[in-house]
């Protein structure tokens, strides 16, 4: 009898607990939680170079119910400036940071510090990090060595694989970033056997067009290869000013470069799918914020090779041309 009473008491208590828990869950679920906040720190955030990337970020933020804040930044931020901005964003309540780091070397402490305070995702380029067994940060970028090789292939194809006697000028982009140094490595490795010679290899983040004029005056290159979007735009701007236009190849994403390609200034352009990069970066940070035990993982984004002939192909249109309202 005693056992039976005890059993009924236990069942009744359990049912009461379930009732209380479900009622409170029902009430609490009515109270909307604040959306997590992700801040995006990229170089020159207003640049048309980021249109596709930002579009991806925004779409993912909408899908994942994330409050997105793209920090307004100028050109050529230093590491310390980025660090300061990030700390301000974190103190303003940012739960996650999407960062295009301005220099990849000596960033261990910075990354370790930020990733201990917020979920950190590097985009566009990797950086030096301490051993991160917990997966507190990750990097989403293109396979830059492969991308450099693809660019070299385009140059080779354009010249029937015979580049002997041809001089190539390389607008390297910011080589302090791993992405650019890897692109350069991929490109030079692949172009070496073609017989072409590297006339010059240079970069100036402030006035590349002027630097190009100077460089071309010193040693004229028949082919200019730009490894980043800004360098490619600078090369095209340079080409518009001169009469004897060099053949331009490069990596680009901005509508300006697409337009140059459409005009025939650029022979061939490699376009990383930055919409995908933006979408996946917010998805990865949101996933980590949702479950802190899930380690973040590095991811490679695809890229396309576009030239004047395939520019308006259906598959390329969505990536290259944003819809303007």
């Amino acid at each position: 009898m005693k056992n039976r009473n005890l059993f009924i008491l236990v069942v009744a208590t359990l049912l009461f607990i379930i009732f209380l828990a479900s009622t409170s869950a029902l009430i609490l679920s009515g109270i909307r939680e604040d959306s997590p906040e992700i801040s995006v720190v990229i170089d020159d955030s207003g640049s048309g170079r980021w249109t596709s990337f930002i579009s991806g970020l925004e779409q993912a933020a909408k899908d994942k119910n994330i409050k997105l804040n793209i920090v307004s930044t100028g050109k050529n931020l230093t590491l310390s400036q980025q660090y300061k901005i990030i700390n301000e964003e974190i103190s303003d309540g940012a739960d996650g940071i999407v960062l295009q780091i301005s220099g990849s070397r000596g960033t261990e402490n910075l990354i370790s510090d930020i990733s201990s305070k917020a979920v950190l995702l590097l985009v566009d380029t990797s950086a030096d990090t301490d051993v991160d067994v917990e997966g507190r940060s990750a990097c989403i970028q293109a396979d830059n060595v492969e991308l450099g090789r693809a660019l070299a292939n385009e140059v080779r194809i354009a010249y029937g694989n015979d580049l002997s006697g041809k001089a190539i000028g390389i607008v390297t982009g910011n080589l302090r970033q791993n992405a650019l140094s890897e692109r350069l490595q991929g490109f030079t490795e692949n172009i070496q056997s073609s017989g072409a010679e590297i006339a010059w290899s240079d970069y100036d983040s402030v006035s590349m067009t002027d630097r190009l004029v100077r460089r071309q005056n010193e040693t004229k290159a028949d082919i200019i290869v730009a490894l980043d979007n800004n360098g490619l735009e600078a090369a095209c701007e340079y080409a518009q000013k001169i009469e004897e236009i060099p053949t331009i190849f490069g990596v680009g994403t901005s509508i300006k470069n697409v337009s140059y390609l459409d005009d025939g200034l650029i022979k061939s352009m490699v376009v990383p799918n930055e919409y995908y990069m933006g979408y996946q970066s917010v998805t990865a940070v949101a996933g980590r914020l949702d479950n802190r035990l899930t380690p973040m993982q590095d991811e490679k984004i695809p890229f396309r090779v576009v030239n004047r002939d395939n520019l308006f192909e259906e598959g390329n249109q969505r990536i290259l041309f944003p819809v303007e309202h």
Partner: protein
């Protein structure tokens, strides 16, 4: 199929019966209260589940119907809006063609001014208007634009389809306009091209041409985004009749391979709602086809989202189930307790009876059945009590009768022998001895009678024994000696009468009768344990241990000598009055002699104790 169903039904029935009978069997030892509570709970649960399932089904069907109805309504409205927009574009195309181009000689004047006017009137929806000759040459465009070098419009799909089917107007898929140069702003426009074949008058020579109305795709996108602007997982997309997507809220994700859509299959669906399973999840797809273009507006509702319209339904269900079960548990227990209370009280009464509670009261109350049970039980209990009392009384009477019988066994034997001795003495003229004998006999009988009492003082009993031994000594011509050593203190204690005499009789007949120097010693004293001990020792022939045992156990032996009253009778009488721990103890050695010890409780002789002992009360109390 029917047979299978029938057999399955039969099987289910049998299974249920087996389960119920098993439950009943296993529940045989359960309390009625638990059985009622469990049965009520099971019945209520089954009813609740059945109701729940039925309601859920009904609710699901209704909510699905409501959802599809409202979706179809939304789609209809969207279709109307989109059709209005496309119709206005078609009308504009008609206006340019029939009112401007058809009447104009393009060799003299291009219709640019009229086109500009129409463009200005519709520029919110338009990117450009353009008129091309059959060979792809630009005749007029609004706003004025420069055709890109190297662009051959005759390759473009809108141009090809316009010439291929000259009788129709053709709406293209959204694409980036690739006709005009717009260098300074680096702008590219997403357009949906409306193209048609036109007849041109080139200096009186009829020519074919193509009129192009490039509609701003952003307008369609804005319209569709307005439809999709809701927080649910439901979305609407637009495709042409072959399944090519014109607008999709996740078009970029689809392009990037992050999302998949079942558009190619949906193209074959008829208008209305359809259920499909895509990528492992069930969804309701509603299709509405637009007139003229054949474009299809498709609404997708994942069923996981649609039925209840709220994710919190599981918490709600848990809440309802737990509160219902809790209420059921409490209510059923309460009801079961109320129903079984009379039975429980009756059961308690029975338990009191079982436990031997003095004068237990039997519960009579509750429903008529239980009241009847109670009454029957009480009557039965009373009857049993009556019978018990009768039985005890009859047993007591029987016992008394037995005692009386035992006592009466002594008298005839002894009297016969003694009278025989007295006759013998008188015949031998031993008158003094005869007088002594008669005196002793008279004293013996006085004690023997004791006014009908069975309990007498030990002193009287010893006197009785002494009288008896005096008679026996005369009979046996002083062949043995007798010695009485009785503690005076014990003479005032109670004893059952006539218990020493049979032992002495045995000592005489089986011990010392045939001996030359036979000796019998009777001793009485109070033991260390406070009880009374009377020993009768003789130096006679003694017995073996097996014989000794038989003396107190074998009731069937026929005595050859003496009064015929055995020691077993004495033992039984003592134990009947005083209890099993008292009685006789016989110690004997062959050729050594025998000692019989009478063990009695030390009970002071007075009238109360006597009456008590005679009524057998002491023995009952001891029991």
């Amino acid at each position: 199929m029917r047979l299978k169903k029938f057999l399955k039904g039969k099987f289910d029935n049998l299974k249920m019966q087996w389960l119920i009978s098993r439950y009943m069997r296993s529940g045989a030892t359960r309390s009625i209260q638990a059985t009622i509570a469990v049965s009520f709970t099971v019945v209520a649960l089954v009813c609740m589940l059945a109701m729940g399932v039925a309601l859920y089904q009904r609710f699901a069907v209704r909510s699905e119907k409501m959802l599809t109805d409202s979706t179809e309504l939304t789609l209809d409205q969207s279709v109307i809006t989109l059709e209005d927009y496309l119709r206005s574009m078609r009308r504009m195309s008609d206006a340019i063609y029939y009112n401007v181009v058809k009447d104009q000689d393009i060799s003299k004047e291009t219709p640019i001014s009229q086109m500009n006017l129409l463009y200005e009137a519709h520029k919110d929806y338009l990117i450009s208007l353009a008129l091309f000759s059959e060979d792809g040459r630009l005749i007029a465009a609004s706003p004025v634009g420069v055709q890109k070098e190297g662009v051959d419009v005759t390759d473009q799909s809108w141009f090809v389809s316009a010439l291929a089917k000259p009788e129709n107007l053709h709406f293209s898929l959204p694409h980036v306009q690739n006709i005009f140069v717009d260098d300074p702003t680096f702008k590219y426009y997403w357009v949906t091209s409306l193209s048609r074949n036109v007849e041109l008058n080139n200096g009186g020579v009829p020519e074919q041409g193509v009129l192009l109305v490039d509609m701003n795709y952003a307008v369609i996108e804005d319209m569709m985004e307005a439809v999709n602007n809701n927080p649910s997982e439901q979305y609407v997309y637009l495709m042409d009749n072959s399944g090519s997507i014109i607008y999709h809220p996740m078009l970029m994700q689809i392009s990037a391979g992050l999302f998949k859509e079942n558009n190619l299959d949906a193209a074959s669906y008829d208008d209305g709602s359809h259920k499909e399973i895509f990528e492992g999840s069930e969804r309701i797809v509603t299709v509405d086809t637009m007139s003229y273009t054949g474009w299809k507006l498709v609404s997708v509702i994942p069923t996981s989202n649609s039925y209840m319209g709220m994710k919190d339904i599981r918490y709600f269900v848990m809440m309802v189930i737990s509160i219902t079960l809790l209420a059921m548990l409490i209510l059923n227990r309460f009801v079961a307790r109320r129903v079984t209370r009379p039975l429980v009280r009756l059961n308690d009464s029975i338990r009191d009876i079982e436990m031997g509670k003095a004068d237990p009261s039997v519960y009579i109350g509750g429903p008529s059945e239980v009241e009847h049970l109670g009454r029957t039980l009480r009557d039965s209990y009373d009857q049993i009590n009556e019978l018990m009392r009768d039985m005890v009384a009859s047993q007591e009477e029987k016992r008394k009768a037995e005692l009386d019988a035992l006592q009466s066994q002594i008298n005839p034997h002894f009297l016969y022998n003694t009278l025989d001795s007295i006759v013998w003495m008188i015949e031998g003229e031993k008158y003094n001895e005869a007088v002594f004998m008669i005196t002793q006999l008279a004293s013996l009988f006085r004690v023997s009678l004791s006014s009908g009492k069975t309990i007498i003082p030990i002193g009287d009993e010893i006197r009785h024994a002494s009288n008896y031994m005096n008679i026996q000594k005369v009979r046996f011509k002083d062949a043995f000696s007798v010695e009485f050593d009785i503690d005076e203190a014990i003479k005032s204690y109670c004893t059952v009468k006539l218990i020493v005499q049979p032992i002495l009789e045995n000592a005489v007949y089986y011990g010392v009768k045939d001996m030359e120097d036979g000796e019998i010693v009777v001793r009485g004293f109070k033991g260390d344990d406070g009880d009374i001990y009377i020993t009768v020792s003789d130096n006679g022939f003694g017995m073996s241990s097996s014989q000794t045992e038989l003396l107190l156990t074998d009731d069937t032996r026929v005595r050859k000598k003496g009064s015929g009253v055995g020691l077993i009778n004495v033992q039984r009488r003592i134990q009947l009055r005083f209890g099993q721990q008292y009685g006789l103890k016989i110690e004997s050695e062959p050729d050594e002699g025998t000692t019989v010890t009478i063990h009695l409780p030390a009970i002071e002789y007075n009238e109360d104790n006597r009456k008590m002992l005679e009524s057998g009360k002491e023995k009952e109390d001891e029991k």
